[in-house]
Amino acid sequence: MCINCKTDNDLSKCSSGLRDAYDPKVSLEHCSSMNTGHDHVAALETQESVIDRVVENAVIKAIFGGNDVSRRNFMKLVGASTAMSVLSSIFPMDAAKAWAKEAPGSLEKKDLKIGFIPITCATPIIMADPMKMYEKYGLSGTKVVKAAGWAMIRDWAVSKQVDCAHMLSPMPLAITMGVGSTAMPFYMPAIENINGQAITLHVKHKAVKEPKDMRGFTFSVPFDYSMHNMLLRYYLAEGGVDPDKEVKIRVLPPPEMVANLKAENVDGYLSPDPFNQRAVYEGVGFIFKLTRDLWPGHPCCAFAASKDFATEMPNSFKAVLMAIVDATFYSHDPANRKEISKAIAPRNYLNQPEEVVEQVLTGSFPDGLGNMRNEPDRIDFNPFPWNSMAVWILTQMKRWGYVKGDVDYKKIAEEVFLASECGEAMKKLGYPVPTTTYEKHVIMGKTFDPDKPEEYLKSFTISRS
């Protein structure tokens, strides 16, 4: 069957470009000869064979000076295989074909370096390595490299020691605006996890029920520009506690939180897992509140790359995004969570007891108060970077004084949270894509309208803006 003329009337596709140049019976010039030479036009299925054919035809046409009659006579005389071997001895056909394939559409770099922090939020980024997701999209030799903290991963990303990085979703916004960093445009084409964080308190605080019981506490969060900081502040402020005046909030790298809780240097923290569950495992803390109960489906960690990387290596950027989106949906499926726990627990990745990782990912866990809880959506994975989420983050950054002055919410949100790129990857993988990039979010019962950020900001009594 000829895909070119049976199903397509487009004359340009009917051109002679894709017919076998070694075949004396076909013309490379006349589309009309299509009817006679029909059976000789092989259905070229793969892109590579199309390129091979295009290169052959171009070379042969050049040799015969565009005279198709003499080409056909020559082929008839010597036969296709002789012609092929003669030609390849005088012209580096294979090299030309390889060169043609290198051109547009091919990966600029295959061995990417991707930085990550050893927490369960990074599950898709990490599991894509042992479960060969990067290789699946042609990124063989891609390495995931462990960083000790968010400041380190920011520095790695900004100084381009890594090509892409696992970041907290407020970080690319902050870096792009030059807040707490040198200004450098960053893209965030995918969210990693939604939910998956918790407020953990020291076991001595079992009597605590609400924010007002927490006055005077010392908390820790992983980074200033984190959902953890924003959500903890939001939670305390909703309960009437001023997070700047009535409690202390210190930044600590997640791995040090459990040890600090043990040493009673902090009363609690809002941190990524597995460190909430690890505190339970160590018998020093209990899970006071899952962040899912503050904002169901809130974004947390993200996959980010510098604008430079995305523009200098557009194909590698697209390929790695495909791998990440694929891995994120794979992680979303509860049936895969056990397998993933096993793949990411070892020393090379999280370096955590598999049992703890599994309790986090499956949502079947002891809470440290003697209860076994079963919350399948304790952590979930969904890549779509809603622009409205970025707007919410920006309102909170302004609320707590991290950014001052006027903020062009939607402009920054759309510049950094690349919803359309993510949607494209989702579509290619066959997942439904949201038709809009803004939606209303409900956080602790209060509706946030992304169209009215300033109004929303003014509605808070406890605020630094």
Binding site: D129, K146, A148, D155, V158, N348, N351, Q352
Partner: protein
């Protein structure tokens, strides 16, 4: 001589036994502190295959030690070279020496780790930063010692070399450096010590592969047995390096 030799070995072994026994006792009281047995088990686990490679974030302790030693060597050699050259110049010029000395003393007092954020910010590369931290740790003690050693060479040696009209370059190599040799080596030894002390936190803070990375990665997992094991390895490597300098010092020693 022989009997005194033996008695220190016996005493040393006795101290080791006392140390391990009290460690065991303390670990039985402090529930969180792993005792000698679990640490020995961990040590066996890591030492039975010291050169395994399970990807970029999990390498054997032998490979990690080589990373640290390699980083140490590069930073230390560069730092020492600069220190000895500057030290000889300062040592030969009393006025310059007196003028510069206060600054050397100030710089010397700064922990090499304190330089780290500044270095990382300016060079934008964590591996280069780790090397520079080692460099910073290596320069000052050697510089101070070289300048001191050179300026305190017996006047007679210098006078003799002047009378013999030795070429200035060969004067440096045949009179000044050998004359100041023992003091310089003492400085190098202190430098090496401070560089080795600096490298572990530098690697931990920068995430560069090495023994410091190992400590941090195991601390991540709250695995204190591994952390204690790493402490022992760091100490042992430090002692081995110091022994090298001991041997060097003995070769360069001379009697006036």
């Amino acid at each position: 001589m022989n009997s005194t030799n033996k008695s220190w070995v016996t005493l040393s072994l006795l101290l080791l036994v006392i140390f391990i026994a009290s460690w065991q006792l303390i670990s039985m009281v402090l529930k969180n502190l792993p005792g000698p047995m679990p640490v020995a088990k961990t040590a066996y686990f890591f030492l039975s295959d010291p050169f395994y490679d399970n990807g970029p974030n999990d390498k054997g302790i032998g490979i990690l030690a080589l990373y640290s030693i390699g980083r140490l060597s590069v930073g230390f050699i560069a730092g020492s070279f600069v220190a000895i050259v500057l030290g000889v110049i300062l040592g030969l010029n009393q006025t310059l020496y007196k003028a510069v000395n206060p600054y050397i003393q100030v710089l010397r007092a700064i922990s090499p780790i304190a330089w780290m954020p500044l270095l990382l910010y300016s060079v934008q590369n964590s591996n280069a930063t780790a090397l520079l931290v080692v460099f910073m740790a290596s320069v000052w003690p050697t510089l101070a010692n070289t300048a001191f050693g050179v300026s305190n060479i017996k006047r007679d040696y210098i006078s003799v070399s002047n009378i013999l009209q030795i070429h200035p370059v060969s004067k440096v190599f045949r009179v000044i450096l050998p004359g100041a040799g023992p003091t310089i080596v003492a400085g190098l030894r202190i430098s090496m010590g401070s560089a080795w002390v600096a490298i572990v936190p530098a690697e931990a803070l920068l995430g560069s592969l090495g023994l410091g990375y190992f400590v941090w990665n195991e601390w991540n997992n709250l695995s204190l047995t591994s952390v204690i094991f790493a402490i022992l390895i760091i100490g042992l490597v430090g002692v081995l390096i110091d022994q090298l300098f001991n041997a060097l010092a003995r070769r360069l020693a001379y009697v006036d």
